[in-house]
């Protein structure tokens, strides 16, 4: 129990991942959904770094570089998503994603 190993990190990442999935499914506020996505990405990153550290060899660098790319992509995704949200709000006067079908043809 005291010896921290790969499994500890994987379990933690699973918890965060599922919390993120639940947030994505259950929130009606578009920003809330976005927060869920960020949680999922973080969980994935923890997995990458933990695997990298505990697999030995040169994988640690690979893992950190991939995690770095994920962070950059998450920032890019958030920027576009927030832009979409403001546009959505300007058109529909709400941020509720259940009203999203109003934009279809």
């Amino acid at each position: 129990m005291l010896e921290i190993g790969l499994n500890h990190y994987l379990v933690l990442a699973a918890i965060i991942f599922c919390a993120g999935v639940f947030s994505m499914v259950s929130k009606r506020n578009a920003i809330g959904v976005l927060i869920g996505v960020e949680l999922v990405l973080n969980a994935v990153n923890i997995n990458f770094v933990a695997f990298g550290k505990y697999s030995g060899g040169n994988t640690s660098i690979d893992a950190q570089v991939i995690a770095l790319f994920v962070i950059v992509l998450a920032a890019a995704e958030a920027a576009v998503a927030v832009a979409i949200c403001t546009n959505y709000y300007r058109n529909l006067n709400t941020i509720d994603i259940d009203r999203g079908d109003a934009v279809s043809g």
């Binding site: 499994n7 918890i15 599922c18 919390a19 920003i31 809330g32 576009v80």
Partner: protein, 221 residues
């Protein structure tokens, strides 16, 4: 006790506040110690742990993991049950910070710092900014139907069960845990081995910048 009692009446909330401040200060000085405990950062000479305990002591790593891993998991779950969007963002802030400290424990120092700069300092601020732009009143909330919540809960619990089965049931191939990687190595690899993805990401960022500016611009009549 007369005069003292009066003073104390006035100061009562302050006492708690001062106590909280003292605890916060202690936590603040302790947190980095635990975070650094797993071997210092690359060039740490004369650090406590690396000299006295000979590298990363399992106890320090365990304390750090359970403290900050617990914080990350708790605040991630708290996000699910929070209705107010800004509070959700603050819980996300706690998760991101705790995950950054977990990266420190995993000796990925550069990644931990980048996590704080990009996520906590940039993305999170952007999210809160988005909330401010799209909210009519701070107390605005959308009610979610019971069925929706139940379905989401079942789906994510099933997913969790599946993941746990996978994690605990697999015999992961192990190697010797690697130490920290110098930033210089990481930087050199980014510009040699990973040059193509690096450039693709740069182009993507440019596209995102233009795209976001296009999407968010105000229509002028």
């Amino acid at each position: 006790m007369g005069a003292n009692g009066e003073t104390v009446t006035v100061l009562k909330p302050q006492l708690k506040l001062i106590l909280a401040a003292v605890i916060a200060c202690m936590a603040m000085t302790a947190a980095p110690r635990v975070a650094m405990a797993s071997g210092g950062g690359g060039l740490d000479e004369g650090g406590f742990v690396s000299d006295v305990l000979g590298g990363s002591h399992p106890l320090f790593e365990a304390v750090g993991f359970y403290l900050f891993g617990g914080l990350a998991a708790f605040s991630a779950i708290a996000i699910c049950f929070t209705k107010d969007v800004v509070r959700m963002a603050i819980w996300l802030f706690a998760t991101l910070g705790a995950v950054a400290i977990l990266y420190f424990l995993l000796t990925a120092y550069f990644l931990g710092v980048i996590q704080i700069i990009v996520y906590a300092g940039g993305t999170l601020v952007l999210l809160i900014f988005g909330v401010m732009l799209t909210t009519k009143s701070p107390s605005m909330q959308f009610a979610v139907s019971k069925i929706g919540l139940a379905a989401g809960g079942v789906v994510s619990l099933l997913l969790f069960a599946a993941l746990m089965g996978l994690v605990l049931g697999t015999d992961w191939q192990r190697g010797e845990p690697t130490g920290s990687i110098p930033v210089a190595t990481l930087g050199r690899d980014l510009l040699t081995t990973y040059l193509v993805p690096f450039e693709v990401i740069s182009v993507l960022l440019l596209v995102v910048m233009i795209g976001a500016a296009y999407l968010a611009r105000q229509e002028r009549e």
